[in-house]
Assembly symmetry: C2
Homo-oligomer: 307 residues x 2
C-alpha cells in the first residue's frame, strides 16, 4: 500500500507517474561558493549536472587508475562489494572503495570535491555510496536509464533529494565507449515507477536492471524536453549530477575501457531511514547507514598517500 | 581441416590470425566514375568506407520509412526473413526486403546507388542480401564487431572480396542511438577467427553473435592503427562500406530509433559457391544463391512507386 506521507512514492502504482520535485536543487543560501562560479551553480540548478573537464591532473589520474587496478586484481570475489559482468567473470564494479582504500578515502575527502558537495547540498555531508565502475572494453554492458534517488528512496530509505554524485573519469570518455548520458532538466521531475520490489532484488539489479525501471513514455517526455548530453573528455574530468537526474549509458564494444570512480555525497540532515518500499535495507556496501558523521577534508592528498 | 586453396581461411585455426587482403578494394580501371569524385574513390580505397551525408531527400526518406513500418506491421513472424530482439517481441531486422517490397526493390536498383556499386566493384552486380534494421529506441541491442566477408565466405561461400554494403539511414544517426562504427583501414586485413561453426548457427547468430567472432587482440590492433569512426547525420545519409571493413554498433537505450536499410551488392563474377566452412548454406533470405542476374536500374523511382 502507498505510504501516505511519502513525498516520493514509487513502485506502488499501477501506472507510471511523472511527479514534481519537492526539494531544492541547490541548497546554498548564496549564488556562488565552494569553488563554483555563479554560472556553474546556475547551470547545475537548471540542468541537474555540471561537467568539469580535466579537473584532476594526469598525475592524479595515474594514481587513481593504479589503485583501481590494484583493488580489481586483489582477489575480491563476487559479493557485497564486487559486481561481476553478466555472462563473464570480469569485475564490473567495486563498491565502498572509500572504506577499502586509503587512496579512495582521500579522494572522496579531497578538499576541492568536498567544498563543492557541501555548497550544493548546503550542509555537512557524508558518503552514502562510493564505487569504481571498470566498464571494460569489448564487453562493457549498458546501464539502463535511472534516477539514483528513486532507488535510494525506495530501497535504502533516503528521505529527500539532498544528495549528489561525483563521477571522476579515470579513462577518456568518448563517443565510442559508452559514456555517461544525462537528461538535462530531468532532475525536476520524479518518475514514479510501476510494480513492486522483489526481496533481495539488489543482488540482480546491479548486474542488469529489471525492476524499478522508468517507463518509455516518461523517458520520452523527459528527453523531448531536455535532450540528452554525454559529457566527453580525458581522464580526470568530473561530472557532478543531482541524485534525481535521469542517466544511463550504452554498451561498450570499443577496445577503450571506461573506468570511473563515483563518490555520492548526502546531507547529514538527510540520513537514511527505513526503506520506503517496505523491504529490508540493502547492505552497507551499497547504502551506508552505519554512520552519518560529517566528512572532514583529507589531511593528506591521495597522490602523497600513494607515494 | 583447412581447405588448402582457400584464400581466406577462418574458423579452422586454434589461434586467431591477421591475414593480408588478397583482393583489390576498388576494381574500377579509372580514378573516378559512377558519380564518385577522385577524392571520394581514394578515400574509400584508403579507409574502406565512404559517408554520403544527406544523400537522399527528406521526401524520399519518408517513403522508405513508411514502407519499413508497413512491412514491420504486416504480421511477419520470426522466421527466415524476420529477426526478433532477444528478450522481447520487437522486430529487429527484416531480410530480403528487395523481394518483399517493390519500394525497396526500386531503392536497391536506384540508378544513383547502382552506378556507385558497379564502379567500385568494377563489374555488374546483384543483390547478395538486403535488409532493414529497425534498432528501436530504449531496447536496441548492440551488434558486435565483425567483418561481413568472414561470415559470407565461411557460411555462404562468397569466394573473394568483391562486394560492398550501402547502409541508408532512415532516421538520424547520432551519438546516442548506437550508430554504425567502422574501423578505417581494417578492410586491408582479414581476421581469421578461431573455432568451428555449429550447424544451424545462423538461427542464433543474427540475434546475438557468439561464433566467428574476431578476437580482442586483433580488434585492438586494427583500432590502434585506424581508430574508430561513427558517421553521423540525418535520415537519408548513406554509408558505403567494403565487405571486409570491421564494423559494429553499441546498444541504443536512447528514445531515438535507429533504422537503416542495407543493400549488399556483389560482383556477378563473385557469385556464391559452396560455403568454405563446409556446412550447408544459409537460407536464400540471408544469402542469395537463386540467381546472379545483373541488376538493372529501376525504371520507376521508389517515390513514384509509392504514390
Amino acid at each position: 500500500m502507498p505510504v501516505l506521507h511519502d513525498a516520493y512514492p514509487s513502485r506502488v502504482f499501477d501506472q507510471p507517474q511523472l511527479l514534481p520535485r519537492r526539494d531544492p536543487v541547490v541548497y546554498a543560501d548564496r549564488p556562488a561558493g565552494g569553488g563554483l562560479s555563479p554560472d556553474q551553480v546556475a547551470f547545475y540548478e537548471e540542468n541537474g549536472y555540471l561537467f568539469l573537464k580535466q579537473f584532476f591532473r594526469e598525475e592524479e589520474v595515474d594514481v587513481l587508475l593504479r589503485e583501481m587496478r590494484r583493488l580489481a586484481a586483489s582477489g575480491l570475489r563476487q559479493g557485497d562489494e564486487v559486481v561481476i559482468e553478466p555472462e563473464s567473470d570480469i569485475v564490473r564494479s567495486i563498491f565502498r572503495v572509500h572504506a577499502l582504500s586509503l587512496v579512495f578515502d582521500s579522494l572522496c575527502r579531497d578538499p576541492r570535491l568536498l567544498q563543492m558537495a557541501r555548497f550544493l547540498v548546503g550542509d555537512e555531508v557524508y558518503i552514502h555510496q562510493s564505487r569504481v565502475n571498470l566498464k571494460p572494453g569489448f564487453r562493457g554492458k549498458e546501464f539502463y536509464w535511472h534516477s539514483d534517488f528513486e532507488t535510494w528512496h525506495v530501497e535504502d530509505g533516503m528521505p529527500r533529494m539532498r544528495a549528489l554524485s561525483m563521477s571522476i573519469a579515470l579513462t577518456e570518455n568518448n563517443e565510442f565507449n559508452g559514456p555517461l548520458m544525462v537528461v538535462p532538466g530531468s532532475h525536476r521531475h520524479y518518475v514514479a515507477c510501476v510494480g513492486r520490489t522483489p526481496e533481495h532484488h539488489y543482488l540482480q539489479s546491479l548486474r542488469q536492471q529489471e525492476y524499478g525501471v522508468p517507463d518509455d513514455d516518461s523517458l520520452a517526455r523527459l528527453v523531448a524536453e531536455g535532450g540528452i548530453v554525454a559529457p566527453k573528455g580525458p581522464g580526470g574530468s568530473v561530472v557532478i549530477f543531482d541524485c534525481n537526474t535521469m542517466h544511463g549509458s550504452n554498451s561498450n564494444i570499443s577496445p577503450y575501457p571506461r573506468s570511473n570512480v563515483f563518490c555520492v555525497y548526502n546531507s547529514v540532515e538527510n540520513a537514511l531511514q527505513e526503506p520506503f518500499g517496505g523491504q529490508p535495507p540493502r547492505p552497507e556496501s551499497i547504502a551506508a547507514r552505519g554512520s552519518f558523521v560529517p566528512l572532514t577534508p583529507a589531511e593528506r592528498g591521495f597522490v602523497a598517500l600513494a607515494e
